[in-house]
Amino acid sequence: MSEPKTPGWVDKIIDAFAPDELAEEIKGDLYELFVNDIQRKSIRYARKKYTFNAIGFLSKRFFWKRDHYSSSNPFVMFGSYFKMARRSLLAYKETSLINIIGLVIGIASALVLLTVIRYEMSFNHFHSDTDRIYRVVRVSGEDMTEFRTGVSYPVPAAFKEEITALQEITSMEYFGGAYVDVMDAGGKSVRMFREDFGCVLVEPSFLKVFDFKETDFRWISGNPEKALVEPFSVVLTESMAKKYFPEGSPIGKALRFEKFFDAKITGVISDFPPNSDFPFTILVSYASLRTIRGEERLKNWFGVSDSHHTFIKLPAGSTSTELEEQFERVHRARTPKDLHTRHYLLQPLKEMHYDARFGTYTGRTISKSTVVGLGLVALFLLITAAINYINLATAQSTLRSKEVGLRKVMGGLRANLAIQFLVETFVIVLLSGILALLVSEVALIQFESLLNLRLVSFHFLDPFVVISLCIIVLIVTILAGVYPSLVISRMNPIAAMKNSFLTNAVGSISLRKLLVVGQFTLTQILVVGTFIVVYQLHVLRTADLGFSADAVITVNFPNTSTYQQTNTVAEQLRSQSFASAVTLSSTLPSGLNRSRSSMGIARRSAQNGNEYKVFEMQMVDPNFIEMFKIKLLAGRNLTEGDSTGNIVINRALMKELELGTDPSSVLGQELKIGQDPVVVVGVVEDYYSNSFKEEAGSIVLLVNRKAYDYCSIKLSATDPEFVRSAINKVERVWASSFPEHIFDYKFLDENVKQFYLQEEKMAKLFQLFSVVFLIIGSLGLYGLITFVVNRKSKEVAIRKVLGAKLGHILIMFSGEYIMLIALSFILALPVAYYGVNLWLTTFVVNRISLQWYLFALPGLIVLVIAILIVIAKSFRTANTNPVSMLKHE
């Protein structure tokens, strides 16, 4: 008889779940019935019945029941661990809450910082051959201390011509803001726009060198090969195209720039990613430069526009040093001696975002050390949160000693107990991690601009974030869970049952003290550092600039404006009562957003290039010095009658040209700017045209009617209502002279503050994280002191019965913590000092000196907070009637 076949998978299931003997017995019975069924009915029926019967077994409880004592595998109790974790979480609600809040804050902050770090590190990394792309930068001065980005117009072409290996080179001129008009077919302006940034001239090779390969970048329409070849062709990004032409395709339409030149739209590309240092939205062909700047400017090796950047792709087989040597050769061959102090060097694209010396078109850089600093803060936050947990868990272990003792007596292995407590930690950390994810999402949205982030999507959908969260949860679980679980599982069951140890036998108090000290050391470093950073920025904000920027609003004239127009505006404003003074100038006395032009000046007798000193030329009308309250040291103010040959210099230039120390002796001194002769008619005190990160620069003031780009208006009052109406009146004056241009103004003092925008943001960030550290530390302290107070309630009662006063008891509780926090302050001092000192070196002028009280005050604040927590918590215990605490037994 051939073997009738039973359904194999059913047998497998039975084998898998039942012990051997039971499986044999069950399968035997099933088989017997199976054979019976085949004889009575059919094989198909038998097989169905076999399966049905077998499933019947699976639904029976005895099938699953096992002998408990046969296995010593601790994982058998897995389900029980989670059950116990839930119970103990609920049993010790206050501690759980403190732990969870601390962990949520810590993990959420770490997640936010991680997102920021990743964003900052991702800048400009998405082009093919990113490693080989360099920016040509300009370093000048005898001691090579002037770092600039601009390259003179003829430079890139000369490099390409003479250095044969150099194939890929691309230049661009960034305008930043521009007036843009949308034109109709008849050449009439239909809609007017004022763009604050994004307008650039680029060569066709721009999108070849920077191919944005690893992003979603693409050409939406237009021919990538030809779109940017012809002069006055323009390529828009998608969002710009939608803004200007919401109704349809922009291809072939015309835009007018600065009311000056028209350009035809030849292509649309997708927006650049936010983590690019090219904030371009309107890309005009570089070939237009000839018309815009004029033939003469393009041949000028001296003049430099700092927004004219050149990038190269390093030819295969050569190094950046070799190429720099070639640049030097070409530059020297084509320029006279007095320009040989200028050098063109190469800066790797990958460093562009992190090197503040050169800057970027976005105006924002972040130093690598700041990124590392943020990473450290994230790490420290996780550590402090973990320390809280360790402290509370070990402190609490005494409360749970009975549970542990009983478990051990009933045969619980040490491994079982350790795993139980680890699982408990894991549950708490996981819970906190999930909450932290939500909190960090909210925080990112809230602090988007503070963190310089541009968010594109919800970050909890990002696999990177989810994976980091998993890693953080695991690390924190191990960091926070291993030590307490070892301590707790080590307890001697008999001692544990008797509860014979109170505060000093378990969880080694000394380690807990150590952790509190560690935690508060980190907190104090940050708090002290933040305090000093904030103080320094306050000093900078209120420091004397050497001129008065109060109540001054500034207006930038269009590029096409004539002296006729600018003078009309100035005259009309002067006649109005709200303006106490009005001045026209080529640039502003200070501020981040202003144009700068540098030239060389030397004694009339100078022969060599190195005798020329670089200075900033500020072409102004005679009201400038008076209106900005710049101090005249000697000589006279400029007058309308002065030619460009009469100059006023500042003290810094006087020193640099070694003209002596007495300002009045400099008057009448004959100098030359380039080759043009000039005479000094006045000397003014230094004022800070650049930030306090540099010394006051050398400045020459002279009258030049053709060069006025700015109008500055000093208001006679500063109340908001007055200012608002004054601005309206200025706008009306503007409209009468420039009806086609959109009116825009700035407050000069705010413009000056822009120098420290990044520092201000960083200070805010530090303030935020100091608070976070303080909260976590305070939570931990609160938890610890709660525990200690509870344990010591009887001791307090007995002390009170024996005559101790409230004050004594409070001192008893707080004394220890004051000591610990004082110790952590002492430990934090050198680190904070080192860090702050390093940061302060970025400021050359008005740097605060590190007085002792700048450290003591924040330290004291932390101490007071800690004492308040300890006293608030111990006060009730210390104040209770001793009888009520003692009578329980």
Binding site: L30, Y31, E32, F62
Partner: protein
């Protein structure tokens, strides 16, 4: 009879089958016998479950018996009634008879 006996109705029937089959009681034979004697059809897994309970309560004991070809060479677990099982059955029977006698005197007269 002092203590309460925890023996369900199906458990009692199965226990009776075990003593009836004497030395030849195992899952399949008990299920068959139950059907033959009472007309009740229960699944093989239910029989096993009841036998497990009976063994836990100490009414039956079991040992693995010989293998046979119709079981595909697998051994069967043979059940036999324990002394406690027997006395429990007798107890139950006596209690019922006592009650029946009382009923006969009153209601069914």
């Amino acid at each position: 009879m002092g203590t309460r006996i925890y023996l369900g109705e199906l458990e009692e029937l199965v226990l009776l089958m075990v003593s009836l089959l004497n030395k030849e009681a195992y899952g399949v034979s008990i299920t068959d016998e139950l059907k033959k004697q009472t007309g009740r059809e229960i699944t093989i897994s239910a029989t096993h479950a009841v036998l497990h309970r009976l063994e836990e309560k100490g009414f039956v004991k079991s040992k693995l018996g010989g293998a046979s070809a119709e079981r595909g060479g697998r051994r069967k677990r043979l059940f036999s009634i324990t002394a406690y099982g027997q006395s429990t059955l007798i107890d139950l029977k006596e209690t019922r008879e006592m009650i029946w006698q009382a009923i006969a005197k009153t209601s069914f007269s």
